[in-house]
Amino acid sequence: MALQSLDIKQRSATTTPAPQARQTVEIAKLIDVSACIGCKACQVACMEWNDVRDEVGSCHGIYDNPVDLTENSWTVMRYAEVEEQGKLEWLIRKDGCMHCSDPGCLKACPAPGAIIQYANGIVDFHQENCIGCGYCVSGCPFNVPRISKKDSKAYKCTLCSDRVAVNQAPACAKACPTGAIQFGSKEDMKDYAEKRIADLKERGYEKAGLYDPAGVGGTHVMYVLHHADKPDLYSGLPVNPSISPMVALWKGATKPLAALALAGVALGSLFHYVMKGPNEVSKEIEKEVEKEDAQ
């Protein structure tokens, strides 16, 4: 076992399973929105660790900057001013890859080994294998991957796979000043979330809860939300995300059906030829034509 520093669970566009014998700990990042002050330390720590720098943009009349994820901004804060029952709340969510257990990007990816899901749950893009088709963009239920304008490769949060591989927390989690980002085993993170949710409920957020959507098999980036019943309040966090049925159809049923259909046509033709023989001009007509020529 040599070629990877993290065990692989599955790789894109590969029909045979990766070695599955080793059982390593499943990790997760927990974002406690109720403790988030929207300081963007995670954004800058991400830029600093991964050596990516976006363009200096401009102010769009909101605090969000950069305004959206890009190939150089793998995480951004999204700010929503919500007024419910006269109480103003500023719901600030760190957006980025959710590292789904059932990753739509990986499902959609046609390039073998361009997207890897590690056994610990990290879904990582390997740009050297990426062909730049953007299928991952269509595959993602959270609108995360971005194609670089410079090199046409897809980029997104790696969950700092290079740090996790040497047992360090992702850069954002380490930096987070208020501990709104926690990192550990998925089980620990769920336990921690439970405590936070209990505290929030005591403070009057009766609908507080954990966002770990089952539609994508659970995620390795989870949120503690004060309003878990309304995830869309948080700048449009999907209420019930899943891989789009169209993508499922495209990368699911279509594949075997089409392959079978094509094989059927090919084999059908072959056997038709073998069994029925060629469709030749009949001797009769050949003679007729010869006769005409003789005239």
Partner: protein, 807 residues
Amino acid sequence: MTNHWVDFKNADVVWVMGGNPAEAHPCGFKWVVEAKKQRKAKLIVVDPRFNRTAAVADVYAPIRPGSNIAFFGGVINYLLSNDKIHHDYVKHYTNAAFLIDPGFKFEDGLFSGYDETKRSYGSKDTWKYQMGADGFARIDETLQDPNCVFQLMKKHYSRYTPEMVNKVCGTPKDAFLKICEIVATTAAPNKTLSYLYALGLTEHSNGSQNIRCAAMIQLLLGNMGMAGGGINALRGHSNVQGITDMCLYAQTLPGYLGAPTDADKDFATYVAKRTPKALRPGQMNFPQNFPKWFVSLTKAWYGNAATKETNFAYDYFPKLGGASDALSIFNDMFMGKVNGFFCQGFNPLASLPNKKKVGDALAKLKYMIVIDPLATDTSEFWKPHGEFNEVDPSKIETEVFRLPATFFAETSGTLTNSGRVVQWGWKAANAPGESKDDAEIIAEIFLTLRKMYAKDGGAFPDAIRDLTWAYNQPLSPSPEEVLKEINGKALVDLTDPKDPTKILFKAGDQLPSFGFLRDDGSTSCGNWIYCGSWSQAGNNTARRDSSDPSGLGQTLNWGFSWPVNRRILYNRASADLQGKPWDGSRTVLKWTGSKWGGNDVPDMRPDAAPDQYVMPFIMTPEGVGRLFSREIMADGPLPEHYEPFESPIDNNPMHPKVKSNPVARVYKADMEAFGTAKDFPYVATTYRLVEHFHFWTKFSKANAIVQPEQFVEIGEALAKEKGIKAGDRVKVRSNRGFIKAVAVVTKRIKSLEVDGKQVHTIGIPIHWGFKGTAKPGFITNTLTPYVGDANVNTPEFKAFLVNVEKI
């Protein structure tokens, strides 16, 4: 701050008003979040804007900029009238029981003794304690005497009703009362409130009194000296605390030793005036040690020239001739009274109010020396940068020198955080190009001057000649040598005063504490409060043991906390008269039977048994905390609400005759440059954003990316009125100039009803300028008024008037 960053986690209630730690101090704010998570603490935020601290607060209340004292007064009134105070604490540890001169009065907005012609309190005699025949202040332990501080306070603050708070501050009454209720819970002896503030309290014409209000509330609640309590100035730069301790400002010498003024004709007068006598029997009255600290400083600076015979080189210290704060300096400069200006790591063009005035002042200099790692706006005040800096260089005769300095990790040395912890940092890389350390640059300038004076003579060369400069490499004083000098050492063998045969320290030994400093010239110490930072044991600021046996976050073996490694000031007040902690689960100090022990270095004579009644506030001659500040403040012994100099309302609702701070210094031209609500109907307040640090990070690409362009924040109501949409460009004008910026339209700034009038607030972040990587912007302080706090002249950046229009 009286406590320290990690100590916030010990609080039951955290009250932030006049600060925004989530944005300005995120990593310190973590301990507030920790208090919420671990202790179920409540976080209160009072601010004109629903800011990022408010985003995680339990209770938020809006307030009109510049009306803090009305709010505080309301809280004091609530606590007093609902009897929500910590009685034993107030009675014994504050001056509540002290009797004040019967002539003391407050009428029509003025305290007794006001002199209108001088705009100051000419006589403060009535602000003093009644003195008994025994030479001590008189007290009434029953707190019933109408002239006792407690009764005077009750009377004074009875005017600050919830209705009045609502009228002046615009804060909804229910939100105000809810906050009072939560604050009042900490009057219980075992509950604490940690008060957090920063420039939101200081940058007002009543800044000092704002802070006093917070301190008074903490005294009433018995929260000073407690773990999870205190009054905590969050402060600004990484070493703003250390530079303040080193006293790089006119009024004091290192260690807060009052600098001599023209009134201090000779050494004896100077020392006598600064060495107080105890106002109550048996009190420590620690400032009585002033001569030891001052003499040790003179030995550190002038060595053998500082002897008894020369009055310890007293005349080598220049005497202050008058005001000398940043505003007065630039006013003098503006008047053409200054030739040379030394500008070290400071960007006054951006940082001081009224950029036009500051720029014009700089243009009147003959020469200016800028020492900075970065190409600051100030260093290019003479250079045209479009509409951001419209100047004509051919008309500016200032010769500007710009010297490249090192940045933090390019040099070693100590920084002191606002929890007073002095920490050593190590050099990680060389600075670019030919950059030099500040100390090297100073050494070069100084030694060149010394050579010139030695060769050619000149005005008063004595001090220049005699200044100690015994560094191994004179042109490059190492931080190690300098810190040792600051710490101080024995100059001769020091013997034990109780046993003269016993030698405590040999000549040349580093001293472990200021307790060993002497006033006879046998010790030297560059800054008494730093004594102990580099003892014979070595560099204590470089200690890196972060163990925390108490669980309170005291980490006594991490770095060095002045004074004498004490982490919580006034910690004697965390225990009752008998020395039993008010809260046994958070013991800071306790009387062990023979001495003070616990989890901190005692802020008390270690063997002062409780029955000696030595009170906890050892830096005051009375030994107790001051609810009534005697004659110390310029604008009154009890804080009173005055309107900002630019106010949206016509009168002070508390007292129509006196609108704004009656003793704040205003220069004539600046008075004329104030705007009125008629032309500038909206209140503006300036502030910082989490993505940027002052005017520095506009040079940092990462920060320019996460907040690239100048903007102003406008509430939805005003935006609708003015037809402004988010993302539009707007022009904001004050009577001193204009800026243009993108509009952020938000629900987070509400318009408030103040004194029957709807008042809108516009929020203006400060971080942009014409130099840097971020998009060029206008200097926000183009707008701000040139007036400061009545006591310390910190500019009134937080409340002024503007108008806004879409462009």
